[in-house]
Amino acid sequence: MITYSSTAIAVRADMVEAHNVAWGRVSRPGTWFDGATRVAIAAETRHASSCALCRGRKEALSPYAVAGQHDGLGNLPERVIEQIHRIVSDPGRLTRTWFDGIIASGTSDAEYVEVVGVVATIVSIDTFCRAIGMPLHPLPQPIAGEPHRRRPRTAHQRGEAWVPMIHPKDLEGVLDTEEERVLAKYWGGVLANIRRALSLVPEEAYAWFQLVETQYLLGKWMRDFANEYRAITHAQIELIAGRVSVLNQCFY
């Protein structure tokens, strides 16, 4: 269980709860991976910062000019370690060709998206811990069980992104299944691409944005500039967000 009681700084109760929910999700079977694999992805996410190959690539003019083997923990296939380490260490220089290579090496597009979801969760909560000056939380113990391996049939490759995504137009009209009706509640209407980025694995998308809304703002608060909902203002929030994205060389 995640706790912030060891720090003198009072962390909002809703944030503590959101972090516990996210930690629990990492430990449980997901859509394509069991709990042990998800925790292994989490551990590899943390381990990436100590990888000599990643450091060399980060310093190189082109990361693709530096060959070698990652300093992995040995619990995941090399193709998954490559995905995790590159997303952690040098996300601003990922390319479509690199993504295609990961898929060609045997990772399915849905597995790829689930890995992204776990990596993002760990990066986010670990970054929060560093930012308030407390040690990282111990990773959770995996919970036994099988992933359900259901791919939403409404997710398509429309040439919008590297990964197939659910589009609001996919969820119009008469829907055939309860799953589609649930998806329509979440993705019906016009939505930003970032909200749809993980939609090939809907549970990752739901969970990620529960965390985002707690750490950042509810969607309905984002453009409510007449009111402030946090201890820092909208302008201060967006200043920090913008500076972080520039430092990460994130165009989106």
Binding site: I9, A192, L198, F225, A241
Partner: protein
């Protein structure tokens, strides 16, 4: 969003602070918060500790927690955007074309071999 906030409130923010121009961007404690974000993503632990103390003293603990949460969110959300290859939406591209060009942010996409403005792609098949 910072630009939308500026338009909504009538405040004139200096967006060049996003790309490293020194200053506060005309936002209260802007320089402190930018330095904090840089320190969290950096490796200088002593500097981070000093900035955490400064935020607590000047803005309060709750502000430190919320500032930390924003760094935490965007440090991860950037990775989702970059690793899934999502483009900027057409409407957003149109709204932000001038300041993206002025701040040279398009270079981030072009360096990846991507087209910065999706409106330049032409019709999709």
């Amino acid at each position: 969003m910072l630009r939308e906030s500026s338009k909504a409130t009538g405040e004139k923010y200096d967006l060049t602070v996003l790309t490293g121009t020194p200053g506060d961007g005309n936002i209260p404690y802007g320089a402190l918060l930018v330095a904090f974000a840089e320190a969290v993503l950096g490796t200088d632990d002593e500097r981070l500790l000093a900035l955490q103390s400064e935020i607590r003293a000047k803005m309060g603990d709750a502000a430190l927690v919320d500032a930390a949460a924003i760094v935490a969110t965007f440090n991860a959300i950037d990775r989702i955007a970059d690793s899934t290859g999502i483009p900027i939406e057409d409407s957003k591209a149109e709204m932000t074309a001038d300041f993206r060009a002025a701040l040279c942010i398009n270079a981030f996409a072009e360096k990846r071999g991507e087209i910065a403005d999706p409106r330049d792609r032409g019709p999709r098949g």
